[in-house]
């Protein structure tokens, strides 16, 4: 935490030195919900839900929908913690010893590697190829990647959107330096887009589809999603209880499959839990995206143990972000994934997922 006012005569942006400074302070500075469980036996599994956790496979498990009984399946009580805005802060919570299991984006994984978070990768799957979109106002003269040259594009830096944007610009031989890059959170980006403060806005589902319908905007063709998503466990959980980790992973997969097999019922249940506020538009968008398999969890019905493609893609993302200056250092993703301590856990997960 910065306790000093910002220096008045700084040139350019502050740059953190060392990836550890990306925000993972010393573990001591992170107070989670009490002490870590370093020596004690795990008496319950603390599962992090991203956002309000009211419309995803974790919701099925936390509310026992669709006949799921996760406590019985795993053989340990599973408690669910909501209120993580993204998977990156969950990595901090794992480091602080207050979370045992979570979804994680590739960017969160890289952050965890750089920050020395004691986390074990369990499964990976490619995000839906059409999960990210670039929005432009209806009738905009921007029709393709090449047209973005010199134009302002809003993006939440250091996310899946950033990676897609870099790759999309590459298709026209452009780099981030060829556009006016505007780093904004999704809420601020939407406001900026609505007021025409920016020419384009890149984000992922369901945010961007909801915004497209709300603002009656157009999307650019050929924008793709390249990165992988993961599920991870704390080292303590994974190493001490590989069988239970594997069972929980399979429960997540089966919950996602149930959502896709029963979309009407699932979305109805999510709506009843307040997953879409009082917005029918939000509910409709979500339902459509489940059907089209365009959500972050859409691949979770088919995930498997970490494959080389997931490692390569994540390494490429890390290298790109390092070149962009998002990460001050290069990160050895491949070396981390090759850690032999992960092998027994992977074996347990592979065996469990073989059960249909």
């Amino acid at each position: 935490m910065t306790r000093t006012p910002i220096s008045l005569n700084r040139r350019g942006f502050l740059r953190a030195t060392g990836l550890g400074a990306l925000g993972i302070a010393g573990a001591a500075a992170l107070s989670g919900c009490g002490p870590g469980t370093s020596a004690a036996e795990l008496s319950e599994i603390r599962y992090a839900l991203i956002g309000d956790g009211k419309a995803e496979p974790g919701t099925i498990l936390s509310h026992g929908l669709g006949g799921f009984d996760v406590n019985a399946a795993v053989g340990l009580p599973v408690s669910f913690s909501t209120g993580f805005a993204a998977s990156l802060p969950v990595m901090e919570a794992i480091k602080a010893g207050s979370i045992d299991f979570s979804f994680a984006t590739a960017t969160a994984i890289i952050y965890a590697i750089g920050g020395g978070v004691p986390v074990v990768p369990l499964v990976a799957y490619p995000l839906p190829v059409d999960e990210v979109d670039i929005l432009v106002p209806k009738g905009s003269d921007i029709k393709s990647a090449a047209d973005l040259r010199g134009r302002s594009v809003a993006d939440h830096q250091g996310t899946t959107g950033t990676y897609s944007l870099v790759k999309y610009l590459e298709t026209a031989g452009l780099t981030i330096d060829d556009i006016e890059y505007v780093n904004l959170t999704a809420a601020d980006a939407e406001a900026a887009f609505a007021q025409r403060h920016v020419d384009a806005w890149i984000n992922w589902q369901p945010t961007i589809e909801l915004a497209r319908r709300k603002h009656d905007a157009d999307v650019l063709p050929g924008v793709r999603t390249y990165d992988y998503a993961f599920f991870v466990a704390s080292e303590k959980f994974a190493f001490d209880r590989p069988r239970e980790v594997a069972t929980l992973v399979r429960s997540v997969r089966d919950a996602q499959r149930w959502i896709e097999a029963n979309p009407e019922t699932a979305v109805g249940e999510f709506a009843a839990l307040g997953g879409f506020g009082d917005s029918t538009l939000e509910r409709d968008v979500y339902y459509d995206l489940v059907q089209q398999k365009r959500l972050s969890y859409s691949g979770a019905g088919d995930f498997g143990v970490i494959a080389p493609a997931a490692v390569d893609s994540t390494q490429d993302l890390a290298d790109n972000f390092h070149q962009l200056g998002v990460y001050p250092e290069s990160v050895d993703v491949r070396g981390w994934f090759a850690d032999t301590r992960f092998a027994p856990v992977a074996d347990a997960v592979r065996a469990e997922l073989a059960k249909s």
């Binding site: 935490m1 910065t2 700084r10 990306l22 107070s31 919900c33 250091g158 809420a187 007021q195």
Partner: protein
């Protein structure tokens, strides 16, 4: 740990912080009801106790004797929508959020104000709060038939009597005086509605009020006095105190002093909630938070900040050299803000120009970092006796409220520091304050004036 912090949101019905309106994500929706509705819904999602609207009754002209710098830079007094209609509009889309509007005792009549807040308290089912100010600008006096404002002691003397009259008017209907018995008939019981026959130095008011006693007894009373007179007034009358401190240490000193004064005046110190102002900058990583703070800071024009500071201090700062330190000055305006800038000036050795930028872009408490970092800092202030909770200011609206609600509130909830559901139905219940009995004004006023 079952003591919970309280959260107020400082919402400006105008551009507010200098430069904030220039941030790409800022929405210039101050003249649009839906803008306030969205903010109200966000705050209620975040389980905030209340939204708090500051106010001002003129476009300040304290800097170089002109409104130019305020208008040009979109400084805090450039445009300000009347908070009372905004408040009513926000209440219509919420069920729990308390809503506080600022009304000055120097340029209003107690009957009008007592009636407005009693009405709002009924229409919101007990969620109204009044932020009491005495005003400190010549430019405001000139909008109300006066050549000059009252001096500070007159302002507070008048405010004290104003509060007594308002409270007597709220008490002029006994609870239950509205009978609505169609058979008898008895609409309102004449034996339970009383004249107040107040005759004082500043006001002569007969009463009764034409609105029954408010659901909360009195609306929640908020005050922000930091001068010695202001602190006395606040310790006498306030349910909630809004203040502004550059460091935890000065916040602790103020906190201790107010609680001691309250006890001295025969009030329960726990029934005064002190909520210092904070302006956190939150991002996924601390490096990004620092960058973001820089970006926002760069949007502040030094003269915009100085214009606001000149208005706060009621001193024309255009008469001092910009590249030297601000000398010691007599401050007719807000002493609290003067202590704050003295602290910053001495600590960081700032010239007046730098001070203007720093003041306009100040982030009280320096809560800059990840959501966990910010929650750590708030927890520290809260547990170390610097605050009963906080008044959230944001560098830009409405995105700043969304970020705090989405990122920081869950952190506070997970630590058991903040509610996950509203405890009660009225603002007093959520703040953990008693409903005043009729006649409590006499205790708060410290005996008959």
């Amino acid at each position: 740990m079952n003591k919970k912090m309280r959260l107020a949101a400082f919402v400006t019905a105008g551009p507010g912080r200098p430069g904030g309106w220039r941030y790409p994500g800022s929405v210039p929706g101050w003249l649009d009801a839906s803008y306030y509705h969205n903010i109200a819904r966000t705050l209620e999602d975040g389980r905030f106790d209340l939204a708090f609207f500051p106010d001002i009754l003129s476009v300040p002209d304290r800097f170089a004797g002109s409104t130019d710098s305020q208008l040009r830079y979109g400084a805090l007094g450039s445009l300000r929508v009347d908070p009372l209609p905004v408040m009513a509009s926000m209440a219509a889309v919420t069920r729990h959020l308390g809503i506080a509007a600022t009304v000055s005792t120097s340029y209003a009549q107690p009957f009008t104000v007592a009636r407005s807040f009693a009405s709002l308290d009924h229409l919101t089912a007990g969620r109204a709060a009044w932020n009491i100010v005495t005003s400190f600008q010549e430019s405001e006096a000139r909008n109300f038939n006066l050549d000059a404002q009252f001096d500070r002691s007159t302002r507070y003397e008048r405010a004290d009597e104003f509060l007594q009259v308002a409270a007597k008017l709220w008490d002029s209907w006994e609870d239950g005086a509205l009978v609505l018995d169609e058979e008898t008939p008895l609409f309102a019981d004449p034996d339970r509605v009383h004249r107040i026959d107040h005759e004082g130095r500043y006001f002569t008011v007969r009463g009764p009020l034409n609105v029954p006693r408010p659901p909360q007894g009195y609306p929640v009373l908020i005050q922000a006095g930091a001068s010695s007179k202001g602190k006395d007034f606040a310790a006498h009358w306030s349910d909630v105190i809004f203040c502004s401190h550059a460091s935890k240490e000065s916040a602790q000193a103020f906190y201790t002093e107010i609680k001691e004064r309250a006890a001295l005046f025969g009030r329960d110190p726990d029934h005064i909630k002190i909520l210092p102002s904070i302006t956190p900058i939150v991002a996924p990583t601390s490096a990004r938070a620092k960058e973001l703070a820089e970006e926002i800071f760069e949007l502040v024009p030094p003269l915009g900040g100085l214009s606001t500071l000149a208005y706060h201090l009621d001193v024309d700062l255009s008469t001092f050299p910009l590249d030297e330190r601000l000398p010691d000055v007599e401050v007719p305006g807000v002493e609290g803000h003067y202590h704050e800038v003295r602290e910053i000036t001495e600590r960081d050795g700032l010239t007046l120009r730098q001070l203007g930028k720093q003041y306009g872009g100040r982030t009280e408490g320096g809560f800059i970092g990840t959501a966990a970092d910010v929650a750590d800092g708030l927890q520290e202030w809260f547990e170390d006796g610097a605050a009963d909770g906080f008044t959230l200011q944001v560098p830009h609206q409405p995105g700043g409220f969304e970020t705090f609600t989405r990122e920081v509130v869950p952190q506070l909830q997970r630590r058991g520091l903040f509610r996950t559901e509203y405890e009660g139905t009225t603002l007093r219940e959520n703040l953990g304050l008693d409903r005043p009995d009729r006649g409590e004004w006499a205790i708060r006023a410290g005996g008959p004036a």
